[in-house]
């Protein structure tokens, strides 16, 4: 049942929204359509949590990891671009699985925006951070084995986050997707992207191991 819902959403509903939206609104409402897609993409994991029999400890674990990654975002506000959110989401996913990673990422976006301001960009951030957790969860076996891969993953996801958010900026500020505009946005945000990717690498290299160790200790101590 659960699998069917996710399959339905991912394979049918999202393309339907994209195609339908493009046809209905003469392809001018990319921002709106992409917003719907971002929301829909979060749906399967949310539904699984809602329907599943996850106990108090798992819920609270996600809540705590979410609060921690937001704390990270707040602790490092003086250093622009240096945000350990992605790194913490990845580490959560490595120990507790892709779904926990997705939820931590998605909820971190919502919670941190209670401080930094909600807006139409919230679903995008939810999706981008959540998606990174999901991927890290899928790749957890190789990522756990090699520090190099983990660092690479950090760099890539940092860059990917910027790329995804820039798509949104262009769609929104331009009413449509224009490659020249996108490239211009990419160039202007390049320093941030670089710092962001580099900070992920630094964070994962320095603290990937200790934090994984802490999380695994909790896993064995409390049987999460």
């Amino acid at each position: 049942m659960k699998k069917w819902i996710s399959a339905f959403v991912l394979c049918l509903l999202i393309p339907a929204v994209v195609v339908g939206g493009a046809l209905l609104f003469s392809a001018k409402r990319y921002a709106w359509i992409s917003l719907c897609v971002a929301c829909l993409a979060c749906l399967p994991v949310f539904l699984r949590l809602e329907r599943g029999q996850s106990g108090a400890r798992r819920l609270i674990l996600i809540a705590a990891m979410t609060a921690l990654s937001v704390l990270g975002r707040i602790l490092f506000t003086p250093l622009p671009g240096f945000k350990p959110v992605t790194a913490l989401v990845i580490l959560t996913a490595l120990t507790f699985g892709g779904e926990a990673g997705f939820l931590t990422g998605a909820l971190s976006a919502v919670v941190s925006n209670f401080w930094f301001g909600q807006g139409p960009w919230t679903p995008f951030q939810m999706f981008s951070w959540g998606f990174m957790g999901l991927i890290a969860g899928w790749l957890s076996a190789p990522l756990k084995r090699s520090r190099l891969l983990l660092a690479l993953c950090g760099a890539l996801s940092g860059a990917l986050y910027s790329l995804l958010m820039d798509v949104w900026t262009v769609l929104w500020a331009d009413g449509g997707f224009r490659l020249s505009r996108y490239l211009a946005v990419l160039v202007t945000s390049a320093p941030f992207t670089l710092v962001y990717a580099a900070s992920n690498v630094v964070f994962l290299l320095l603290f990937g191991k200790p934090i994984t160790k802490i999380l695994e200790r909790m896993q064995t101590k409390y049987g999460l």
Partner: protein
């Protein structure tokens, strides 16, 4: 009728050699107020958690637990309420009203029923005033009261509390105990309370159960506890943890009914020794010596516009003395300590350490061989995954040569009695052990001045005695200790001088006997009992000594 009954209950944690509980047979009457006590690690928490099926630890259990005649596991959810130690970590949601409703939401009750019960409970506990606040903005006492109210929302038949006041200041703790007594008296609710601070709860209990090494030592009315303990062993360690009145009584080996409260203790003393004048005790000379820490007319506030927290605070701490800084909540004690530790800069005035201003110590020199602060919560000290790694980090920061590190660490660990814990994770230690471990880490910086913030918070009477002896040993070696505390009993026993802080300034600094003799309210229970007869008797031992001297004159 017994509401809760255990029959020959034993329990062993997985992989543990010794059983945590052995053959405990206990029967709790409906409507009674029972206090469970015993030294740390006696199995109190294990026993209480076994009563609450949802919280029961995993392990090997034999014997039965019956709740209202049925196995406890089959009780309806919420029939047994449980309040834990830490006020903060029990709160689940972000609003007070939501926290109250949380339990009933879980039971799936209709919204209108919840609304009614939330309103009723909030008014019973006087929560209306902060009903719509964020849980995070509450004081510790309010938080614990909220936890209690949230548990009572479920209309339990038995209320279990595991050291609920250990993290509260004395005034909040007394309020909490008063609320418990009200619930027990007015609603007839059965209360089972584990506690190590017995001064207030002992007199109001119907029964006291004492656990020792996993066995039930006795289960008696409070008045019978001390005589029973004395008959088991005249120097039973549990005797030190009892209320002051009981302790004075047992020092005298006087026989007769054992007094429990200050009022009874006072009557007990006055009936026997009224009119016996004793020569005043030798005047305690203020310690002489060089000045270690000199606080000169310090003013401080947190924000530019906020009110002053310290208003011209001045204090001279002599080298090698132990000074306790006492005062109520919000008097500025912790702020004063942070300023002495160099964490905050005074707006006006200055702080001198060994004659040099704090801000002239540069590049961490202040915290090497000079000054160290043990924070209120020892958990803030640890950042590594074993105690050994944490201590090693400190040695590395002190630039101790690697070859000497192991020896230095062993020596420190042995001195504090934590040598067997070095491989453990700091968070797996008990409260008292954590504090010693944190102290070990702090002491590795080899300070001449040690600052302590509420060192007795959350530790039991035995750990407190250990701490007081340890601090004595340190001061004898020439270390200067300044402790900020709420705990007048501890100050009376451990301090060379006590200072009273109020409204941002020091009102008096004196040796403890003179200090407490001059106070009317803010003094030890033993002094409140004896002050009508001998004003300067401050600790139980001193009162007992006065009694003995009086016996000789009678």
């Amino acid at each position: 009728m017994a509401l809760l009954q255990t029959e020959n209950l034993s329990f062993r944690y997985p992989g543990a050699e010794k059983a945590a509980l052995q053959g405990v047979s206990l029967s709790i009457e409906a409507g009674s107020f029972t206090v469970v006590c015993g030294p740390s690690g006696c199995g109190k928490t294990t026993l209480l958690r076994l009563f609450k099926p949802e919280l029961a630890p995993a392990g090997e259990q034999t014997g039965r637990i019956l709740f209202a005649g049925e196995p406890a596991a089959s009780a309806r959810p919420g029939a047994i309420g449980f309040v834990q130690q830490n006020p903060d970590s029990q709160i689940v949601t972000d609003k007070v009203w939501h926290e109250l409703a949380f339990g009933l939401e879980n039971l799936g009750l209709p919204v209108e029923t919840i609304r009614r019960r939330v309103g009723e409970t909030a008014s019973f506990f006087g929560i209306q005033g902060w009903f719509r606040q964020k849980t995070d903005e509450l004081s510790g006492g309010q938080k614990q009261l909220l936890n209690l109210a949230a548990v009572l929302m479920m209309q339990p038949r038995l209320l279990i509390l595991d050291e609920p006041t250990s993290q509260l200041d004395p005034i909040a703790a007394a309020d909490f105990i008063a609320a418990l007594q009200k619930i027990n008296r007015e609603l007839g609710l059965t209360v089972l309370l584990a506690e190590h601070r017995l001064e207030e709860v002992f007199p109001i209990a119907d029964r006291v159960a004492v656990l020792q090494e996993g066995r039930l030592l006795l289960h008696e009315p409070p008045r019978a506890v001390a005589p029973k303990l004395l008959s088991i062993s005249p120097d039973h360690p549990m005797l030190h943890a009892l209320p002051s009145a009981v302790r004075v009584w047992r020092h005298l080996a006087a026989g007769g009914a054992c007094p429990l409260t200050v009022r009874e203790g006072r009557r007990f003393l006055e009936e026997r020794y009224a009119g016996v004048a004793l020569p005043p005790p030798p005047v305690e000379a203020p310690p002489a010596g060089a000045c270690a820490l000199d606080v000169k007319n310090v003013w401080f506030r947190y924000e530019k516009e906020s009110p002053d927290v310290l208003r011209g605070l001045s204090l001279r701490v002599t080298r090698g003395e132990m000074l306790c800084l006492l005062g109520g909540n919000g008097a500025g004690k912790t702020t004063a300590l942070q300023i002495m530790a160099g964490l905050d800069r005074p707006v006006r005035g200055k702080v001198l350490l060994h004659g040099r201003e704090l801000k002239t110590y540069r590049g961490g020199a202040l915290y090497r061989h000079n000054l160290a602060l043990l924070p209120q919560n020892p958990q803030t000290v640890f950042v590594k995954d074993t105690l050994r790694a944490d201590l090693n980090e400190m040695l590395a920061a002190m630039e101790t040569p690697p070859a000497e590190r192991a020896g230095r660490m062993e020596q420190m660990a042995k001195e504090l009695g934590i040598a067997h814990l070095l491989a453990a994770h700091p968070y797996d230690l008990s409260g008292g052990e954590q504090q010693k471990a944190a102290l070990a880490k702090v002491l590795l910086s080899d300070p001449t001045v040690l600052l302590l913030d509420e060192p007795t918070k959350g530790i039991d009477a035995f750990a407190k005695r250990g701490l007081s002896e340890l601090l004595r040993a340190l001061t004898r070696r020439g270390m200067t200790v300044v402790a900020v505390t709420h705990d007048v009993e501890f100050a009376a026993e451990a301090a060379d001088r006590c200072a009273f802080l109020f409204d941002g300034e020091i009102l008096s600094v004196e040796p403890p006997r003179n200090f407490f003799a001059e106070n009317n309210f803010y003094t030890t229970a033993a002094n409140r009992m004896a002050r009508g007869l001998w004003k300067t008797a401050v600790t139980c031992e001193q009162v007992a000594a006065c009694c003995r001297a009086a016996e000789e004159r009678l």
